[in-house]
Point group: C2
Chain length 386, copies 2
């Protein structure tokens, strides 16, 4: 399988699995215990906290381990909801469903800041939305298009107005450099499995000194910020994945990933007519390619690509089951028919240049086939999932 679905999840690096194994075997002690095995587990968690902090320029004490990215996001929003005064939440129209569903459920309400046709948040519109707002949450990079958002500028503006701020950096972490001090926000969410770590573990950066309200209450773990017995193996795996991601970025690995993505796009766009690249190409994650194929329904393309051993997504993995067009594309003003003909190809450093070129060949073949079936490209063909 050529795995071009890294924005859905990534393969664990062998070093990550190897680091986890001792904590799934002999190192099972509860880190809150008093005996020596418990203290050994506690020390392993402390080390992972340093590693995760280093990936985003935080202090170790500012890292709260969670049960995943969605929990991190829900916790951040819950805490800001508790901390903030009156007014609505402000989020972008292209946020992940974790941010959208969570803020929609708040009694205070939420307003959606729009993006332009290139999928970039519009600063003037954000400025308008922030007037009288309670807090703001904007993603660092969009999960579908990969477009990187002007989070630092937005945080500056919000800070000047005294508003708490959070960024969902789940798609950005490990793919581009993040420095929470330079960014200037209050909270930031990341998830291990998006950068070759395990599923079921994430982290929330909570700025030192920020008033904070936990979402999960109980035994008082994570300095009272997230209760629940620590998932030692998962946390250790996240730590190692963070350290390796930081190394990858320092060594210029993002450019190699971009080179594969670009070669894939160049081939597809060079050999196929009627393909549109979505999202500002100048400010995307290095790994993401979001393409619309005129006259082809995404559902059919997915089935045919699966047969050709290429894994990718229509919209985000979370939405693959649904036949609705993506809210991200609709927010960019992409017409519904085009939105339903879009695929997301997302690379990782585990791909090769051959993967990129072979996947491009597969895409060219299946788009050609789908278009031939419908005889000339008039209107989309629907291929139902078996």
């Amino acid at each position: 399988m050529i795995d071009l679905d890294a924005n859905a999840t990534t393969a664990l690096l062998p070093e990550v699995v190897d680091a986890m194994l001792p904590w799934l075997r002999e190192g099972h002690a509860n880190p809150s215990g008093a005996h020596r095995e418990a203290k050994r587990a506690r020390a392993a968690i402390d080390r992972a906290r340093e590693q995760v902090a280093a990936l985003i320029g935080a202090d170790a004490s500012e890292i709260v381990f969670t049960g995943g990215g969605t929990e991190s996001v829900n916790t951040a929003l819950h805490s800001m909801d508790w901390l903030a005064g009156g007014g609505r939440a402000v989020v972008s129209a292209i946020e992940h469903s974790a941010v959208l569903r969570c803020t929609e459920a708040m009694a205070r309400g939420v307003s959606l800041a729009p993006v332009n046709a290139d999928g970039v948040l519009e600063m003037d519109a954000i400025a308008e939305h922030l007037k009288g707002a309670a807090f703001v949450s904007v993603m660092m990079a969009n999960n579908e298009t990969g477009v990187i958002q002007p989070v630092s500028k937005i945080f500056q503006m919000a800070k000047a107005m005294g508003l708490p701020t959070h960024s969902d950096a789940i798609q950005a972490a490990g793919k581009v450099a993040i420095d929470v001090k330079a960014l200037g926000g209050d909270m930031l969410s990341i998830s291990a499995h998006k950068f070759h770590g395990p599923k079921g573990v994430g982290a929330l950066y909570v700025r030192s000194g920020l008033a904070f309200e936990p979402l999960l209450r109980g035994g008082g773990q994570e300095s009272g910020r997230r209760s629940g017995t620590e998932n030692t193996a998962g946390i250790v795996g996240m730590g190692v994945a963070a350290e390796l991601a930081a190394k990858h970025l320092i060594e210029g690995g993002a450019a190699s990933v971009a080179a594969m993505r670009d070669a894939f796009e160049a081939k597809v766009l060079g050999e196929l007519a009627g393909v549109t690249l979505n999202g500002d190409p100048a400010r995307r994650l290095p790994n993401t390619s979001h393409l619309s194929f005129a006259g082809c329904e995404a559902a059919g393309l997915l089935i045919l690509l699966d047969e050709k051993n290429v894994a990718c997504s229509a919209g985000s993995a979370c939405m693959t089951g649904s036949q609705r067009p993506s809210h991200v594309q609709l927010a960019m003003g992409i017409p519904e028919v085009r939105a339903k003909s879009s695929l997301r190809f997302s690379f990782s450093r585990l791909n090769t240049m051959n993967d990129a070129l072979n996947a491009a060949d597969a895409v060219i073949a299946v788009v050609g086939r789908l278009r031939r079936v419908q005889g000339g490209g008039v209107g989309p063909v629907t291929v139902y999932s078996p």
Copy 2:
């Protein structure tokens, strides 16, 4: 190390680790994806759901996978808070901190139903508390004393009054048989790492047809009841652990665990004076022994037992760092000095009879040593943790 800290956490069974490994290696696909690897992960999760459901007599559709027991409990209480009308929450005074801290934070308030000197909930008191209450949450077995509570009777009473019900069965699951249909409640929380599964994964039973409000919102996984990318490896591990726990119970394994616990207690009580067994001996979990040692501080005993390679806890693992006496013991009317001289020894089926007898020897030796240090048993000796 003789591990008598199973109520804090348990070692993963080799079969559990083996079942998890493929999903940490090649089976990393996001179960929400459309391609074949994603569908393979989805099928593995479906199978684990059947296995966990079978352990507690639920239908697979009634199982919601979470990031651990604390999240399960917080979700259940959050959902009942949303579902219930006016009135306070009712919980027992000996609940785990997950239940206590979560209900204390609710605007509706909480009232604590008392237990008797044997650590058993008093039905008359519960009946009084339920008048005008909003919902009730009572644990199936206490984590410190192991005392099994009359949950079924309490649920019957609550049901007659139309109140939603939840049981924290985290310490009971895998140690004694549970049948949610016979129990008659609405929700029940369990945690994999308490029955030889991995940390960072739990489940919440939600009765079919019950109105439910999620705590974590986002991608809509778990039929909208718990968003967040599924931790395939953890969930598969929990499934296998549940299946093996069910087998252990069917094969009468609880009696073997009780035999070890009883041999340990008989030896300690037979050879040491001034030892009190806490909690009704006739209605305890088969694995738990909660003992007070007159004239000895638990903190000192823990250090000396650690040196003798015996792992156990003072109160619960979550409270080991604190010098406060356990709220469970105070609720039982145990005086503070005795409460601070108590240790919890909790066995699992991975222990041997030799472990039990050697641990008893170690306990006898260290209690004798601590008592000699202070010359005759007058008042407790304080040994500080290094």
